[in-house]
């Protein structure tokens, strides 16, 4: 690929996704759940950005919004300079060529009534004008690329193992030669040995084809293996966003610190060094969010400022963006 490195391929700006929820039943007031709120990030060509966060943090919803699989109500998503939000009809079809999705659960992401080759063929039929012979040629190549045997083309999904199914999902995502592939927890449904195979496959494909990944995960071990930069989400917002090394060596947000301390380690020395930071309590009600920082009610260092005003995501040098009032404060250094 002739792409110059370090130029952004995907630029997401102030993205917001909300869902209407009914409260109080019957004719109760309509309220909104802001699943993704004011989220901005960029992904450089050929690199991988991981979005990490717990269940319900909005990471998957953000990814779906980028792929135009769920509707965003505000913000902008630019791929290679082209605005994706607001595209309709033929233009959207063209754009879908460039953004493909690998799903979390290989057991529900393949249509049980289609043969493996037809699953991979689907994007070729719907998004390209390739002839039948060309499609077949591409399918054969993709099967080889993802490590499936050509004889397996005629099988149905239930005849494959979880890892093989995910390989079919990857082949489907590669079919239209997309620029950006969004991986939504692609290995979390697989067992550990297979996880490594799939992750290595994704990395090999990236270096071979110059792919750019947006990688959604809750597993920091996987993220460490895969990406160049990391965005940590909590309750619909990015709380920290920086490159991999800064995040793992110098986490600034208390939530990130707690997350990192929860990563299990086989290294005895490291285990002795790191004290597990426990975060008490539950996340706040996502519909009636408290006024201040969303993490304030669980943060060990929270002050009155935290409970009153929401911290903006600010750059603390070297593109290390953190949303916390207490960064550079002696109190956070203590935890």
């Amino acid at each position: 690929m002739a792409d110059t490195p370090n130029t952004p391929l995907l630029t997401v700006d102030k993205l917001g996704v909300r869902f209407a929820v009914k409260r109080g039943g019957g004719w109760g007031k309509r309220a909104f759940l802001y699943a993704v709120d004011d989220v901005s990030f960029t992904v450089n060509r050929g690199e991988t950005l991981a979005i990490v966060g717990e269940s319900g943090s909005g990471k998957t919803t953000a990814a779906l919004a980028v792929a135009r699989l769920t509707a965003a109500y505000t913000g902008s998503v630019k791929l290679d300079g082209q605005e994706l939000l607001g595209l309709e009809g033929e233009e959207l079809r063209q754009a879908r060529n460039k953004v493909q999705f690998i799903f979390q659960d290989p057991y529900s992401s393949l249509n049980p009534r289609q043969r493996a080759e037809d699953i991979v063929r689907e994007p070729l039929v719907s998004l390209t004008d390739k002839s039948g012979a060309e499609q077949q040629q591409i399918i054969d190549r993709l099967f080889a690329e993802v490590g499936l045997r050509p004889e397996q083309k005629r099988l149905f999904p239930h005849q494959f193992s979880g890892g093989q199914r995910q390989r079919i999902g990857i082949a489907r995502a590669l079919a239209t030669q997309p620029q950006l592939i969004i991986c939504d927890e692609p290995v979390s449904a697989l067992d550990v040995a297979v996880q490594a195979q799939i992750l290595n496959l994704l990395r090999d494909l990236q270096s071979e084809l110059g792919l750019t990944y947006l990688f959604i995960s809750h597993d920091l071990g996987v993220v460490q293996h895969m990406c160049d930069s990391i965005a940590v989400m909590y309750m619909g917002r990015i709380v920290e966003h920086t490159d991999r090394l800064s995040l793992f060596n110098n986490p600034l947000h208390p939530y990130t610190k707690a997350l990192l301390s929860a990563v299990p380690s086989v290294d005895k020395k490291r285990r002795a060094e790191t004290k597990r930071i426990l975060i008490p309590g539950d996340p706040p009600d996502p519909v009636n969010l408290p006024p201040g920082c969303r993490f304030a009610n669980r943060c060990p260092a929270a002050t009155d400022v935290c409970r009153q005003s929401e911290p903006p995501l600010t750059d603390h040098g070297g593109y290390h963006r953190v949303a916390c009032h207490l960064v550079n404060d002696s109190k956070t250094a203590a935890i």
Partner: protein
Amino acid sequence: MSQQPPPIEEQIEQARSPLSEAWEMFRRNHAAVAALVVLGLIVIGAIIGPFLYPTDPFEMVWAPFSPPGAEGFLLGTDYLGRDLMAMIINGARVSLIIGLAAAVVSIFIGVTIGALAGFYRGILEEILMRITEFFQVLPTLLFSMVIVALFGASLPMITLAIGIVSWTAVARITRAEFLRIRELEYVMASRASGVQNMKLMFRVILPNALPPIIVQSALMVGSAILFEAGLSFLGLTDPNVVSWGQIIGSNRQYILDASYTVTIPGLAIFVTVLAISLVGDGLNDALNPKLRSR
């Protein structure tokens, strides 16, 4: 990997469509297989019966109320001296055609409404489901009687009337399946692959929603036959064709003197509807993945 996977040739051999797998399951339900054989015989009898037994069902062939077996009439004669055997054979055709056609009508209406409601959600779903509920609370027999009484008792109108009053169950089942399947990742994947809404609805979601719809349709053929019998019994039927319900209806005054004129067509309805129900039950087992590989 404790278990060696079977050789690829064998796997491809096994790569049968889900349909043939369902047949495998269906075969294990002996009652359903027996019912399918009975149903097959009834259908064959309805098709070729009139050629093998060419007596006109409307012709007076003998004295009225000749009991079964007497005077060479296998099932006897009715109150007008018509051959009951000929009436049963010819009635089978009408009953089965009405049952099938009415089921087709109600599946067509029900699947369309259920699919639109379940796929598009929102205000369209509200409107379509309120319409469905409106049809659900109408007394079905009364409503179909009104339709037939207003628009005439021809076979197509009777079929339509039965179809119009019985699509609601199909609509609700279809909607429920669409609501479930539209959230599955493979539908999302098809959407990401650029598959258009119409294709998404009828090529991706509908085939996966079919099993419960098929079961419901099979049962509906049975209930449509019963429905037609009910309407004919009340006299709301085309007088120029003979159906099982109509035989019962026209002979009902003589139930004490010649009970066989009512019991024999009643038995025909009973056996047919029972066979259809058992086949439907077998289909339910065969198409329900949770019961697989027991």
